[in-house]
Symmetry: C2
Subunit: 286 residues, 2 copies
C-alpha cells in the first residue's frame, strides 16, 4: 500500500521545458487563462474551503509554478517573506486542502528561498531570478544558484514490539513524535538515521527501512520517513535536543491515534509525516 | 538484504556535541592523536592502497570531520576548491577504499561548499566558518548558513520485464544508466521520480519503490535510488537531456554487468548507485 502524507501529491505540471525559454514568462503572462497566486501574511492565501486563492495576472510575476490544464499558474514574490509564525502555520495546515498542498509547498518554499538569496554566496554581488523563478543568476560572477531542498530523516525506532518517540521543547504539552534530523554532507539516508538515533537517544540501530517522504515548506525540508530496528531499549537522551524520549506499546500508539483523551501521549498532527509513520506501524506496513 | 552503494557507510563519529563548543577546535588541535587530512589537486589525497592520507596537525584547521577512536580528524580548506576535473574524478573513484569513502565524501562536499559560500546570500557581506566548520555565520546580518545536501532521484523504470536506461551526452561510448534528476521544492521523492520519468522519457509511472541511497560529493548530491513501474513502453525522449533511452531485457542487463564486450551496453561504474540498482534488479530485490 502506498502511504500518502500531506504535501506529497503530484501538483501542477511543472513544465520544466518552458523555464529555459527566455521569452516564456512574457508569453505566459499574456495567456487569457493565466492566473496568479494570492499572498497573505507571507503565505499563499487559502479560502474557506482550504483551496488556494488565484487572481488575474497583474504585471509580470517572475515565478512559473506550472501549468494547470495547459494554462499558466504564476506567482509574485511576496514583500513579507520572513518565517511564518507558529499560529499561521498551524491554521494553514488545518485548513489547507490536500489537493492544493503540493502547489502551496512549492510556492512557499520558492518564495522564501528567493527572499533569503538576493545576494551571491560566491562573490557577494546581487542576484536576479532566472529560469522562470527556478534559479537565481549572479549579476557579478555569473554563478547560477538553485533553490535549496534540505533532506531530513524522521524515524520510528522499534525494540521488542515498542516504538521510540520523543518530545522536543517546542511541542504542545503531552505530544510525542518521531525523532528527526538533517542529513549531512557525506551521509546516506541510512547513515543519517543511525547517527541521529545514536546522538539523540543513545540507540544503536540494525536494519533501516524507508517508508515514505514529504516536502515540508517551513522553509525547505524534504522529510524522509523511516523505520529502524533498535539494538536495545536503554536510552541516553540528548537533553539539548529533547525534553524526553520513551518507548510506547502498540496499544498505547493505537489509543493515542484514536484521539482518546486518556492516551499516554498526544500524537503528531494529521499533516505531519510522523503521523503517517505511526499509522503505518499500527497497520503493520513496515 | 541491505544494499550498500559506495560512499554510503557510517564513516567517522561526527561528534556533533563538540561543534557547539566554541573552545573545542583549539583543544582538539592540541590532542596528541589529532590528524589532519592531506589535500591534493582540490580533493582529499589517497595513497596507493586507496586510503585517505593524514598528517600531524599544523596550525588550526577549521573543520572537525569527526573522531576516530576518540581522536580528532581535522581538515583545512584547500586553496584550490573549484570543481574536480573528470579525469581526477574517475581516478579517485577507481582507487578510493570503500571504508574511507564516507569521510572522503564529507570532506570534499564540505570544503567545496565553504569555497562557494564566502558571502551571505541574505545580505552580501562576508561569512566565516562556524560550528567547527559545519556552518558559516554572516559577519553582517548574523544569518547562519548550513552546508547544502541536494537530493537527486535516480531510478530504473520497468515495463513487462524490461528496464529503461538512458544515455547522457557526457557518457563514454556505449554507456547506458539510470535516469536521474534533482528533487524540487514542494516535491516528495515519489513525485520527483514520476516527474523526471515523464519529462525525460515521456513515461507515466504507477508504483514507486525506494531502494537505497548514496552521498555523491561532486559537489553535494544525495542520490536516492528507486524502482518505478512504467505504464507503457512508448518513449518520448527529451533530447535536451538524453542522447538516447532504451528498454533492456534481464538477459541484456546480466550480460552488461558481467563485463561481456559483446553486451548491448556498457553499465555504470562500480562506485555509482545506478550500478547497485541494476545489480539489485537482476537479483530480484525490488
Amino acid at each position: 500500500m502506498r502511504l500518502r502524507p500531506f504535501f506529497s501529491g503530484g501538483g501542477l505540471d511543472r513544465a520544466d521545458h518552458l523555464r529555459t525559454d527566455p521569452a516564456a514568462i512574457g508569453r505566459l503572462c499574456a495567456d487569457s487563462g493565466a492566473l496568479e497566486l494570492v499572498w497573505e501574511n507571507g503565505a499563499p492565501a487559502i479560502d474557506a474551503m482550504g483551496r488556494l486563492c488565484w487572481q488575474p495576472v497583474s504585471g509580470s510575476p517572475p515565478l512559473l509554478l506550472g501549468l494547470n490544464d495547459h494554462h499558466p499558474r504564476l506567482c509574485a514574490l511576496p514583500e513579507d517573506n520572513g518565517p511564518i509564525d507558529a499560529r499561521t502555520h498551524i491554521q494553514l495546515l488545518t485548513l489547507l486542502a490536500a489537493e492544493d498542498s503540493p502547489t502551496f509547498a512549492a510556492a512557499l518554499s520558492l518564495a522564501q528561498w528567493h527572499g533569503r538569496h538576493r545576494f551571491c554566496s560566491n562573490c557577494g554581488q546581487s542576484t536576479e531570478p532566472n529560469r522562470c523563478g527556478w534559479s537565481r543568476a549572479c549579476t557579478g560572477c555569473g554563478a547560477e544558484h538553485y533553490p535549496r531542498v534540505d533532506p531530513v530523516v524522521i524515524m520510528i525506532a522499534e525494540h521488542d514490539g515498542r516504538l521510540l518517540l520523543g518530545r522536543q521543547p517546542s511541542y504542545p504539552p503531552g505530544r510525542f513524535s518521531a525523532l528527526a534530523g538533517f542529513v549531512e554532507p557525506g551521509e546516506s539516508l541510512e547513515a543519517a538515521v543511525a547517527r541521529e538515533l545514536q546522538e539523540e537517544a543513545g540507540i544503536a540501530v540494525g536494519e533501516v527501512r524507508y517508508l515514505t517522504s514529504q516536502p515540508w515548506p517551513f522553509p525547505s525540508s524534504l522529510m524522509v520517513g523511516a523505520w529502524a530496528s533498535a539494538q536495545s531499549d536503554s536510552l541516553t537522551i540528548d537533553t539539548n535536543e529533547l525534553d524526553d524520549a520513551r518507548w510506547f506499546s502498540r496499544a498505547e500508539v493505537v489509543q493515542a491515534l484514536s484521539g482518546d483523551p486518556d492516551a499516554p501521549f498526544l500524537p503528531p498532527p494529521a499533516a505531519a509525516i510522523a503521523r503517517t509513520l505511526l499509522e503505518a506501524w499500527v497497520d503493520g506496513l513496515m
